[in-house]
């Protein structure tokens, strides 16, 4: 058996600007491809990405030697397998269940959404990405985590610095200096708030982890909060912005969504169409085979769920935003043991609260210039601006 073909032409810049035509070609011509610029083997078909994520023994997340460790100043659960991962995951899970969200937090989320939506100006061009999608995602997360004392700006800045540090594969000093500063600020806040969260348990992630019967070490509690900050703002922000764009860009679908109350379906389609987390890495632990090619131990494969979500074998007209698909088996929340811990929160806050409220308050919202909306990102992707007129 041969090694997968090697590509030396695809650049990270191309992937950041618009990866979708490339992925479409790869699905047809080279679904297993070593991409020199990314130093990864790209997997672009849904069956392969799912197979890899479902087999954490052969395709491990355990890799302490990524820039994630210095960026978070911790070996986090994202990069652990088996029992070590499970212990930390189970520690935070109780704060993220639908029951907790609906019964304990629902009214607060409704109120936060109403506040942020209520202060948007009518009748002029407003960038919803900067004024709503980012700040509201940050605010809701701050409450879920039990650190509402952090400002929206702090939450967003910390998140971005953690992400930039974790993606600093060139190991340049500046991103780590920035993430170090963010870590100092987060650690100081956590230290200040911990006594209150223990004295008055409030169901937040911080409180739940601190007051558990057998709590995980404090260092891992901090690491879990940082993972949630790094991984819990961009995704709902980008999902929200993508859904709003998709619906405004397809008014006939928006009308049908309103008529049927199909906001959850709109949310699912948005994250299928442009997955907020586009790709993930797994370390190959033993010589194996994928799609007819030899995959040696030690190689890093990249599951491109962005591409899996448009795989012609699963989706008709997958390049198009179409809310009313019969089935939508997207992989945007991943699968396997690392399936997104925030999936329930995202589905409820963005899908069931924010989208319907926004379109209810501004029934005549318009997208004056679809070309003005810029999309960016290879690892994470979404619009980086969303100028609309609210009416």
């Amino acid at each position: 058996m041969a090694l997968a073909p090697l590509d030396t032409e695809i650049t990270l810049d191309q992937l950041t600007l618009d990866p979708y035509p490339i992925y479409r070609r790869l699905r047809a011509e080279a679904p297993v491809l070593r991409v020199a610029s990314a130093r990864r083997t790209f997997l672009t078909k849904a069956a392969l990405t799912k197979l890899v994520k479902d087999d954490p023994i052969l395709f491990s997340s355990d890799d302490p030697n990524t820039p994630m460790k210095p960026a978070f100043r911790a070996h986090t659960l994202m990069r652990k397998d088996g029992d070590a991962h499970l212990a930390e995951r189970r520690a935070i899970n109780p704060a993220l269940t639908p029951k907790r969200i609906n019964s304990d937090w629902g009214p607060l989320y409704e109120q936060l959404a109403a506040d942020y939506i209520g202060r948007l100006p009518r009748g002029e061009v407003v960038d919803l990405f900067a004024t709503l999608c980012g700040p509201l995602s940050a605010r809701i997360l701050a409450h879920i985590l039990g650190i509402p004392e952090a400002t929206d700006d702090e939450m967003q800045r910390w998140s971005q610095r953690l992400i930039d540090g974790a993606g600093n594969f060139g190991w340049r000093p500046e991103p780590f200096a920035a993430s170090d500063e963010a870590n100092d600020q987060m650690d100081a806040l956590f230290a200040r708030l911990a006594p209150q969260r223990i004295a008055e348990p409030d169901g937040s992630a911080f409180s739940v982890m601190l007051t558990a019967e057998n709590p995980i070490p404090l260092s891992q509690i901090r690491a879990n909060l940082k993972i949630a900050i790094g991984g819990g703002i961009n995704e709902p922000r980008d999902a929200m912005a993508t859904a709003i764009f998709g619906l405004l860009d397809k008014p006939e679908q928006l009308a049908e969504v309103k008529a049927k109350g199909a906001w959850s379906a709109a949310f699912e389609e948005a994250i299928r169409w442009v997955a907020p987390i586009q790709a993930s890495s797994r370390l190959v632990t033993a010589d194996t085979e994928l799609g007819g090619f030899e995959i040696p131990k030690g190689e890093t494969v990249m599951t491109i769920q962005a591409s899996a979500n448009r795989d012609e074998e699963l989706f008709e007209n997958g390049e198009d935003f179409f809310v009313f698909r019969d089935k939508n088996p997207h992989q945007s929340f991943g699968n396997g043991p690392h399936h997104c811990a925030g999936a329930h929160v995202a589905r409820r806050t963005v899908g069931k609260i924010i989208l319907p409220m926004l379109f209810d308050r501004f029934p005549n919202m318009t997208l004056p210039d679809r070309q003005a909306v810029q999309w960016r990102g290879f690892g994470f992707r979404g619009p980086i601006n969303l100028p609309v007129v609210l009416n």
Partner: protein, 107 residues
């Protein structure tokens, strides 16, 4: 192969044949049964394969697995004593004819 019946909340039934050794969740997904999502693929991480084992079968499907209670807390629909994550029910010859009921919603 064992026979397996899914009963939707509206009472409609879907009958499938599935190989022994697979899970109820995998059998449902492989046969496109609406109402079982199984998003995490059986890793007990998503609670989107929630089902209610028919009372007549509850003894034979056995107790919940370690960690299953905690994850069921995350299920979108009401959890009852008959609730299971269908990814944790392995099909054996003993379960030939198993009937499970589907919840109102999984997401």
């Amino acid at each position: 192969m064992v026979k397996l019946t899914f009963v939707a909340p509206d009472g409609s039934q879907t009958q499938i044949d599935a190989p022994e050794g697979t899970s109820v969740m995998k059998a449902a997904v492989a046969n496109d049964v609406d109402g079982i999502v199984g998003e995490c693929g059986g890793a007990m991480m998503c609670a989107t394969c929630h089902c209610y084992v028919d009372e007549a079968w509850a003894d034979r499907t056995g107790p919940r697995e370690d960690g299953e209670d905690d994850m069921l807390e995350g299920a979108a629909s009401e959890v009852t004593p008959l609730s299971r994550l269908s990814c944790q029910i392995k099909l054996t010859a003993d379960l030939d004819g198993l009937v499970v009921h589907l919840p109102e919603e999984q997401l």
